[in-house]
């Protein structure tokens, strides 16, 4: 833990935030839009985990790293699972009127599990 490491983390985070901001403000769009922003955010997360939260410095059993990895698995299940289910449902129900939606839901309910 030295002042230099905090400074490196700070400058890298600042550059990554500004990069994401100017990419969006200067009109970034298209298929790569989400990928580029996602990569910038995840890179900044890794930078801060290493330089601010010192996740790499642990010695002995790396409990913090292990619990972090476990949290990431839960997080992925929650995020990807919810998006998958909800986008799929919206896709199948997008052309329906509210009445049709209600009827469709009732039919699905009657089918049971």
């Amino acid at each position: 833990m030295t002042a230099a490491r905090y400074a490196i983390g700070f400058v890298l985070s600042l550059i990554l935030s500004l990069a994401a901001y100017y990419y969006v403000v200067l009109g970034g769009s298209g298929t790569w839009f989400l990928v580029i922003l996602g990569v910038l955010a995840v890179t900044q997360m890794i930078v801060q985990l290493i330089f601010f939260l010192h996740l790499g410095d642990e010695v002995g059993p790396r409990y913090r790293l292990m619990s972090f990895a476990f949290m990431l698995i839960i997080l992925l299940v929650v995020v990807v699972g919810s998006l998958w289910v909800m986008v799929n449902m919206n896709y199948h129900m997008m052309d329906m009127t509210p009445t049709e939606k209600t009827d469709y839901m009732l039919i699905q309910y009657d089918k049971g599990f």
Binding site: M1, T2, A3, Y6, S17, A20, Y21, Q48, R64, V78
Partner: protein, 194 residues
């Protein structure tokens, strides 16, 4: 076991316990993030995310919080070197920057609400206020925690217990900055333009 070894073990145990709390908080934020992502287009005929969010304000908030996190890190260094003056100034700067961040966020909330875009308008705004508001609430708790640290520091000086407390506060504060990166990206950068 010598006193120093005992202290070190207590320190690492406390840190791991607090770290586990932070991980569960991550899962809480993940569920709020995905709620926002799912409901972002559910505007019920009201204002959309592209019309409401101001990117320059969000960038300003990002820079303020990042600087605050960095200054807090410098204060933590001062603990290990036992430089009390540097520690106090670092924590004061952290507090001021944190309070500035919260003030800007509340101003944004008040502005939205005064234009009629409050959390009752649509599912999109409900999820927005819940996600960003929960983060703001964490910041508020962090600021109160800092006040308690200042109080104890004044009355009892820099004890071993307080040193542990300040280290945990540092973890909490860095963690909040980490969560904000994703709010900045998903809510403001993606929600504000796409």
């Amino acid at each position: 076991m010598s006193e120093a070894v005992k202290e070190k073990e207590l320190f690492s145990r406390t840190t791991i316990g607090f770290w586990l709390y932070l991980m569960t908080d991550c899962v809480l934020f993940a569920s709020l993030f995905v709620t926002f992502a799912v409901l972002r287009t559910a505007t019920a005929g009201g204002a959309t995310s592209q019309e409401l969010f101001e990117l320059p304000t969000a960038l300003l908030e990002t820079i303020i919080l990042l600087t605050s996190s960095y200054v807090c890190g410098l204060a933590l260094l001062a603990i290990h070197n036992k430089r009390v003056k540097q520690l106090v100034w670092g924590l004061v700067a952290t507090f001021i920057l944190g309070a500035a961040f919260l003030a800007i966020e509340l101003r944004e909330f008040a502005l939205l609400a005064s234009e009629g875009h409050d959390w009752t308008q649509s599912a999109f705004l409900s999820s927005f206020f819940t996600l960003v508001g929960t983060h703001g609430l964490h910041i508020l708790v962090g600021l109160i925690w800092l006040l308690v640290i200042f109080f104890v520091l004044r009355s009892r000086g820099l004890t071993e217990k307080l040193r542990r407390q300040i280290t945990l506060f540092g973890l909490f504060w860095h963690f909040l900055d980490l969560v904000w990166i994703f709010i900045f990206t998903t809510v403001y950068l993606i929600g504000g333009t796409q």
